[in-house]
């Protein structure tokens, strides 16, 4: 049973003419797999390698470099919530915000809530310092996150 869905395979094949090497599709492939499966299983790595004419070790090497990708022992929940902890946010209360989220969600940073809805992570600067402290919901910014905004956000993500 193939782990890579037909949609992912088709999308990758469509992307191939845009790059002179197939290896360049490694990151797009890993993104597609993780978006779908919430982690990158070893079987997916093998299949990506087959599709891109690489050895699985090459794909694994790239994947493991970016701590962004999760192994099957640590899959992401439905949503990934990143709290920025870099300087501009820290100066405006990021530490309090991280504490607020960990308490409210009952998880440590990097863990997922028991309902599988939210994975909490800290991020290095997410580039929205004009709205510090800020968070990233999957890949969308949310600025000026007060405890009230945080509560609202948690409700949205759990809903």
């Amino acid at each position: 049973m193939a782990v890579l869905s037909e949609t992912v395979r088709q999308k990758l094949t469509d992307l191939m003419p845009k790059y002179p090497t197939k290896q360049a599709l490694t990151l797009p492939a890993l993104h597609m797999v993780q978006d779908e499966l919430r982690c990158v299983p070893l079987e997916a790595i093998r299949e990506i390698a087959d599709l891109l004419d690489l050895s699985p070790a090459e794909v694994y090497d790239t994947m493991s470099f970016y701590q962004f990708f999760r192994d099957p022992q640590h899959p992401l929940g439905k949503h990934r919530l990143w709290i920025c902890r870099s300087l501009a946010c820290q100066l405006r209360g990021a530490d309090d915000l991280i504490e607020y989220f960990t308490t409210k969600l009952g998880v440590h940073v990097t863990e997922t809530t028991s309902d599988g809805k939210i994975t909490l992570e800290t991020a290095e600067c997410i580039g929205a310092c004009e709205g510090a402290p800020c968070v990233l919901v999957n890949d969308t910014h949310r600025l000026n996150v007060t405890p009230e905004v945080a509560d609202q956000l948690i409700e949205e993500l759990r809903g």
Binding site: T122, E124, E130
Partner: protein
């Protein structure tokens, strides 16, 4: 004469991201001028004459960078646009891509025409999801309008622009790290030479330019080199290596200010004016203690140094690494520099790519020492030890491949040089302010 915004002129307009509004404002006129009236060499010469320097951090002259490409190369030549804006406290490129993507794309198109690149890869950090989608939609509009693809405007010019998403790694902002990542490998920076202009992505000649840099190219073609040079600061006669700081610049203001945000000004505004006139002063009625002139890699300026102009040459005069990304973060007088330095050391230890031992180990050691200071367990000799480690890692002492370690060392060196008394006091009083949270291993 008051300064008229150039790069941010359109960002507050409704639907500023659409091709229709961009065209109504004269958009793609500069591109037409380039492909109809100018040869690629003329565009390169124009950009050289404008004195445009890269906005990504290093400030290398853009036209000069382009001219390093081999002459009469059979191709392909590639353009990589560095949209991996990961330097902490920096967000100018995000605003440009979200609010005026066509201005950036026009700059990319002109730059590709000038350098004879036929494919441009826009390497954008994963965290900029909205910017990614807006840029992709703008590119789709261009293909539909036949402004991208084969034989554009019947001028025999082919160009494809491809958006490529990163995966949350700071090192991908280093140009050869970016290239490796784009090729599908771990983002380990390459040993130079060969420089990307000779052998870059897919082992072909490559130009890597920052988003704001190419946006400037659009306006240089539109208004000319002299117009560009009418803004900013001429070369410092006392510094033979200074190539001048011309043109408009996006300054990101963040930290303890009343009005954090993005402001466009001619290069050379002082840190004080930026704070008081544009940042609304320090928050909560407090006073400033320090600022970081251009992303945390640049080191600290103390309040007494705030009259330094923020051009390519200014921050170096007060022993900062440089202008960097012109992202200025202000720190108020009730903030402990020990906490600030700990935060910065943690960032670099987390983001060191691990390729060069001095950086991988050095950033880790510096973090351990900063952590000790923060816990109130610092030792008197730790301060000199920190500086000693910081002095030995980086491309300046010649021990690493890329500049990440220089950026990691600079805040340490400037903090201890400029705020030594505060660090000594923290060591003597043994303050303990660790939060339980910091004991949790965050990855």
């Amino acid at each position: 004469m008051p300064f008229e915004p150039v790069l941010t002129a359109r960002i507050h307009k409704p639907n500023s991201h659409l091709l229709s509004t961009y065209r109504a404002d004269g958009g793609y006129g500069a591109f037409a001028k380039a492909i109809y009236d100018m040869t690629p060499e003329q565009v390169v010469d124009l950009v050289k004459a404008s004195g445009l320097r890269g906005r990504g951090g290093a400030g290398f002259p853009t036209g000069l960078k382009w001219s390093f490409l081999p002459k009469n190369h059979p191709g392909p030549i590639y353009m990589c646009i560095n949209a991996d804006e990961s330097e902490p406290c920096t967000f100018n490129n995000r605003v440009l891509m979200e609010k005026d993507p066509h201005q950036v794309l026009e700059g990319i198109m002109i730059s590709c025409y000038a350098t004879r690149a036929r494919v441009a890869y826009v390497y954008i950090r994963y965290e900029y999801g909205d910017a990614y989608r807006i840029m992709q939609a703008a590119i789709d509009e261009l293909y539909n309008a036949k402004l991208l693809g084969q034989n554009i405007e019947g001028r025999g010019f082919d160009l494809d622009i491809v958006m490529h998403r990163g995966a949350a790694a700071y090192i991908c902002g280093e140009e050869t790290g970016l290239i490796e990542s784009l090729e599908g490998k771990r983002a380990w920076p390459r040993i130079k030479p060969p420089f990307p202009a000779v052998e870059g992505v897919f082992r072909k000649p490559t130009v890597v330019n920052n988003v704001e840099t190419v946006a400037c190219v659009t306006h240089i073609v539109k208004h000319g080199a002299e117009w560009f040079k009418s803004m900013g600061v001429p070369p410092d006669p006392n510094n033979p290596r200074d190539a001048g700081s011309y043109g408009p610049k996006l300054y990101c203001i963040s930290g303890h200010v009343n009005k954090p945000g993005l402001v466009e000004l001619p290069l050379g505004v002082t840190a004080r004016e930026l704070l008081e006139v544009h940042g609304g002063g320090i928050w909560k009625g407090r006073k400033a203690k320090a600022c970081i002139p251009g992303g945390i890699s640049m080191g600290f300026m103390s309040e007494s140094e705030f009259d330094t102009p923020l051009d390519f040459n200014g921050p170096g005069r007060v022993k900062c690494l440089g202008l960097g990304t012109a992202a200025v973060t202000y720190i108020d007088d009730e903030t402990s520099m020990v906490d600030v330095l700990y935060n910065i050391a943690r960032f670099f230890a987390h983001e060191s790519c691990g390729q060069c031992t001095p950086c991988r180990e050095g950033t880790g050691w510096m973090l351990k020492i900063c952590e000790r200071l923060q816990r109130g367990q610092g030792r008197q000799e730790d301060l000199d030890l920190l500086v000693d480690v910081a002095d030995r890692i980086g491309i300046i002492p010649g021990t690493t491949i890329c500049g990440l370690a220089d950026g990691a060392g600079w805040p340490i060196k400037t903090a201890i040089r400029k705020f030594r008394a505060e660090f000594e006091r923290a060591i003597q009083t043994g303050r303990r302010n660790i939060r339980p949270l910091q004991l949790v291993g965050a990855h």
